[in-house]
Symmetry: C2
Subunit: 591 residues, 2 copies
Amino acid sequence: MTIRNKASYDNKQKLVDTIKVARGEKPCDVVIKDVNFLDVFSGTFKRGDVAIYQDKIVGVGESYDGAQTIDGKGRYLVPGFVDSHVHIESSLMTPAQFERAVLPCGTTTAIWDPHEIANVRGVEGIEWAISQAEILTMDLFVMIPSCVPSTSPELGFETSGATLTAKDVAKFRGHPNVLGLAEMMNFPGLLSGDQDVVNKLFEFKDYKRDGHCPGLRGRDLNAYGVAGIHSCHESTTLEEASEKLTKGIHVLIREGSCAKDAHTLLPLVNSYTSAVLGLCSDDRNPLDIKTEGHINFIVNLALKQGAKPEDVFRAASFGPAKMYGLEDRGAVAPGYKADVVLVEAKSNWRDGFDIVSVFKDGKGTETAPPSNQGLRPQSKGSVPNLNMGPVGIEDFAVKSSKVGEVKAQVVEVIPAQIVTKKKVATLLVAEGKVREDLAKDVLKIAVFERHHNTGGRSVAFVSGFGIKQGAIATSINHDSHNVIVVGSSDELMAKAVNKLLEIDGGIVVASAETTEELACPIGGLMTEKDPDYVSAKLKGLKALARKIGCKLNEPFLQLSFLALPVIPALKITDKGLVDVEQFALVPVLVD
Amino acid sequence: MTIRNKASYDNKQKLVDTIKVARGEKPCDVVIKDVNFLDVFSGTFKRGDVAIYQDKIVGVGESYDGAQTIDGKGRYLVPGFVDSHVHIESSLMTPAQFERAVLPCGTTTAIWDPHEIANVRGVEGIEWAISQAEILTMDLFVMIPSCVPSTSPELGFETSGATLTAKDVAKFRGHPNVLGLAEMMNFPGLLSGDQDVVNKLFEFKDYKRDGHCPGLRGRDLNAYGVAGIHSCHESTTLEEASEKLTKGIHVLIREGSCAKDAHTLLPLVNSYTSAVLGLCSDDRNPLDIKTEGHINFIVNLALKQGAKPEDVFRAASFGPAKMYGLEDRGAVAPGYKADVVLVEAKSNWRDGFDIVSVFKDGKGTETAPPSNQGLRPQSKGSVPNLNMGPVGIEDFAVKSSKVGEVKAQVVEVIPAQIVTKKKVATLLVAEGKVREDLAKDVLKIAVFERHHNTGGRSVAFVSGFGIKQGAIATSINHDSHNVIVVGSSDELMAKAVNKLLEIDGGIVVASAETTEELACPIGGLMTEKDPDYVSAKLKGLKALARKIGCKLNEPFLQLSFLALPVIPALKITDKGLVDVEQFALVPVLVD
């Protein structure tokens, strides 16, 4: 991977012109007068002018004249924020709409692992993702998904939309917007020297190789480091994150919509560490981005927990920029990209800050960025996103020859976490079929294969949703993105799935009386609608989810992670229940 | 420039093997037991084992078994030091001998600007420098000299051995040991948009471009930053260094033999800045390396000034490694190069530390490194280093038609600085010749062109040496490395120069009775002799210099910088006196 230097110019004349502007011999384009700009090198705010010419900062401190003058009023100017690890698909929007949501939050750079569209559309999905970088105002970099599908196809744990070999992913190296290999979730494979994992790591040996290793500690964590992994965004305790940092695994502090680690991990941020930490959103829905914010939300959380602004703003910008070889950004200094955020501190930094304006490449972004959506990912001819037939109540039967009672393994959802617990529940058998138990909050959950029309499906039990009368179905369902549905009855589950078929993917909540839905025509994962539309839709979906009794704050995201067989402890795929700790398919009924 | 990743392997099997070793499934090569290793990410020392396999660190913290076990005894283990900017030529030794001197000091990586040999031998000199990297145990990286000669040939300020165009330097890009363009000393040229400077900066736009801008401040410093310069090692005040750092110019804190800035600049080192600072030796003689140390000496100075070891050891390793894209080193963490230094803190860190042992690529360096010298730089056929004829007393005449007295511009040497002052002295004229004035310490100084046998020479006056009866001559004389001589009389100056001719370059001190000399057969700059030999020779030279009355601690280094017409204020070349502030040749006699 080539280092992206600061002060890079297309031609020599631009270099000469910019030198003149910096010397004050030619006017600059924009001067932000009298501002406290963050010096990410020394760790202090300095007061003075910040001068911008074309896409770069040309002067800091000294007074300048420019075509446009902005009164900084002694406010603070910080480098644009970097989302160091994001699956844009989790915003349910295309990158062009994602930008509309996050650029006003100060996020000027995002490092995207297009893992979801890659699982659905394979190589074509990644090509589409990379093509999106070209139509945006913000800078979008792509990490090439390392684990599609999440588990080795030979294991037969799940049916994915695509399988990407080392050869498939290697061909994306060298594209200027590709920084490396995305999160190596298959850490058991890495530790055992799995050939496909080793091939991928080796193909990307001169690139950044992101990690994903929840709970990995001790010698196994050392082994993860010697494999070349440079980051992890999956720490959930301070001890775990500290050990990773000590071992050279850069910690990306995550605040998604479901996985919320910031409160726990932010004490890690200090003067010393701020150069080697990053902040990230991973999976964050548009409603949270709209109401709380994006990377700026994490910075605000940190300030409220007592972090120094000089430290946390560095971890939000310079830290991840350096980490990913993006040496052209992350500082308010001459030659750096004019990606800057003008902020107003509340009466006290501990109360947080508000964003006044955002500049990307020297241009103000007060007006909405262009809504060019680019091309859609190439469709598979006439094949719909949901390549499966309608379902009926018979598809939800869990048969048992037992009489009276039976013991079943149950996936236990933990609010705001993507790991689950496993438990055993005693359930009634009636007419040869095992019944859900609404009183005990043990519901049916089912997954339908949707990529190849194989008719594959599995049904099991889940607790934690609390649904009393209704069902939730979605085609957004990590990582294989089959159709997953949870509900209070076979009828309402079938209703939800068939509605999802009608809209060709997205999210559906069904009650006895009505349905709410968000259609996601792009791979069954994303819509081209704008952030306001999506937020409003999500609000409606969430309201109906609450109405049918669901007690989770993030029912759709939590449902979306129940089919991911690399996150402990018990998950369900189209092939059945997967005990992630045993790393094996296990029966639903245990006696 | 390609990022050098940690955990890079020649082949996949090595990757798989190393994973096994890190997991404890295979024994490692070396275990340093019970050591306090520096965590450069969190800023703390952690106690435990550090395991090494082949050339890499494979485990930190956990207990390991290895073929060799070293009892760390609770001592401290820090990353190998990086000399972030050095002219190895100033050690008077070849790289192979330089390594013998500095590797025991813990310096495992050096970033070499082979500026001197390039000035003497041009492209061939750089080719030789790069070839040296291959024969060493330590890692040697090369920055390609940007300013050969130091001033534009059209100015006619000096006669150099070679002239390097943008095309000449560009051809070295892409070599794995070449990190970029060396110190851009021609900052006036940069600021005025000089075409050759712009061409060179542009050719290296994807590489690191080092700076050199003593005293540059304000808007001009901003301009230097927008030109892409990323570092400077020439700050002499804390304010100057602070401004550079704020403006994104990484500060390299220098402690050479002549230019000693560490004491002044070390207060810059703290938890925040230690990630973005470096330490360097620039020009350091073998005697100082032997008696005081190298980068370890600067670290010791910092500790004595109250710096925290966690901070200054980071600035000595991780900081510069990151700065130069050397991401495979600078940390004691799995996957990083096993370039580590075992140190013993004195009873208190404030009293400094001693080096116990040094490991390079996992191997102990207790025994002397191999003394393979590699090839000599290609000689120019039968042409000697000193391509000039013998000199006589008539060559030192400064003629004047005045009677009695005359006013002369005098170069005033400042002890331990490479900048000079200019002053005017009244001197006697006898028999049409201006005389030196030993009582006022105004001596003659002369430069003879030695590359092309042009017969070019100039004579002027200097104060500050204090020589009473004797002369010092050298062919090491930045940057053009012509022959420079200072002395108490024309006779002794001629004696010193003719002795220098006899040994074909090096350093000579002549008294009325005797001479001492160090021969430097490689370009008239370096010897292939070992550090002990060179130190002993230097001691002898210095002793005789003191005996002839010289009061400077570093007479040879100070003399060596008197011909460098880009360092203020007044310098002398083979073309005459150069007023650096006016940037013009000026007459010796002013009335």
